[in-house]
Symmetry: C2
Subunit: 211 residues, 2 copies
DNA sequence: ACCTGAACACCGTTCAAGT
DNA sequence: ACCTGAACACCGTTCAAGT
């Protein structure tokens, strides 16, 4: 029952009893654990089931296929990051442009780092999943928050807000991924921390008018 | 024979006769074709062998495993892009900062687009391969070219060239990937084309001193 | 209502036999 | 020297049988 045809990556059925709720939680947690310890390539359904303490059959009762397991983990992670970003945008409303750039960069970067080393593996997970709809949703939320933020700037005005919003979000997400995804982000992370706010500030100044 | 232990993703043996040289070329081409038509998930060794007109056994004589096939295709693609970038850097040497930003962005973006739609699939390929060494090499080449370019700017000087080089390369690669990787880059591609030069120019101005 | 695990289809890889 | 393809191990998924 309760197969969701519009989104086959969603859990197959909603648990109705306490026992199965715990089962789903255990499977979810096991997926993440196996992902962190063994990596995506070595993540097999058998291994996840073992770690969760259930049989493969049980797993397939709640998740229609392997990808649904990964999708669930990725989804939760992305929601946490976008929520942190939204909160930062609200907090920074009405600030000056420089503070906005610094605050936004800081909030996004810290949200990503808070979930390290999950962030790293999850880039590989996202790459082999059909995430178009999920990403669209996340991007829409992020863009809405950033747009609102930029529109509220105390000392600047933007003629083409949608374009600037797109650009800022793309710099943020693109550069952070580029750094976190790689093996040894020790020194590059420090550089990113220092340069990303400068990039954003410089770009925002360049495309805004004093108000 | 001729297994390369330092890099197990490399071809297993060097062809010594015309027949096998053609075989390797056919396998290489078939890999790329299957990748484009069927996508990474549906790319199986059998399918590639079929398309190449050889048996699986023959394929395994030249490529030690499936990943070696993908690695070869990715490697060639990355080399082409980095060469285009290097050439642009040489061409722009001694120019003014604004022209440099525009020229570099244009060259990199066009190199990526020239290989579309290969670019899109290859992001997914890179994600599930051990590409650390390959990427390190590419990044080193790109950074060297960009560093030389920036140092030659007619109207600007940089105090911390390594950091600025890192930042420019990260913006470039990160934002372009962010856009090309997605499903429908029609309008976002136009925005990227317009905003990326502005970003780079604004950043470079911000971290440089007039000379 | 929930769980089990043997059974099936399919894929990556090998190797004995061919030319 | 190069090629073939049946055979093997392993993984994702199902389903008849259990509680």
């Amino acid at each position: 029952m309760a197969v969701v045809p519009s989104d086959p990556l969603k859990p197959r059925k909603t648990p109705r009893q306490a026992r199965s709720t715990a089962t789903v939680a255990a499977i979810f947690e096991a997926t993440f654990q196996v992902l962190l310890s063994d990596g995506l390539v070595k993540l097999t359904t058998t291994r996840v089931a073992e770690r969760a303490g259930v049989s493969v059959g049980t797993m397939y009762q709640y998740f229609p296929h392997k990808e649904a397991l990964l999708y669930a983990v990725l989804e939760q992670y992305l929601y946490e990051v976008v929520i942190a970003t939204e909160e930062a945008c609200v907090r920074l409303e009405g600030a000056r442009l420089g503070e906005m750039a610094d605050g936004l960069v800081h909030a996004y970067l810290e949200a990503k780092l808070r979930h390290m080393p999950g962030s790293r593996v999850l880039y590989t997970v996202a790459a082999e999943l059909d995430t178009d709809d999920l990403i669209d949703d996340i991007v829409r939320r992020a863009d809405q928050a950033i747009k609102r933020l930029l529109a509220s700037a105390a000392d600047a005005h933007f003629d083409d807000l949608p374009t600037v919003t797109f650009a800022v979000r793309t710099i943020l997400v693109g550069t952070v991924r580029e750094v976190l995804e790689k093996e040894a982000p020790v020194s590059s992370l420090a550089m990113l921390r220092a340069q990303l706010p400068i990039m954003c500030r410089a770009y925002l100044m360049a495309v805004s008018r004093r108000a």
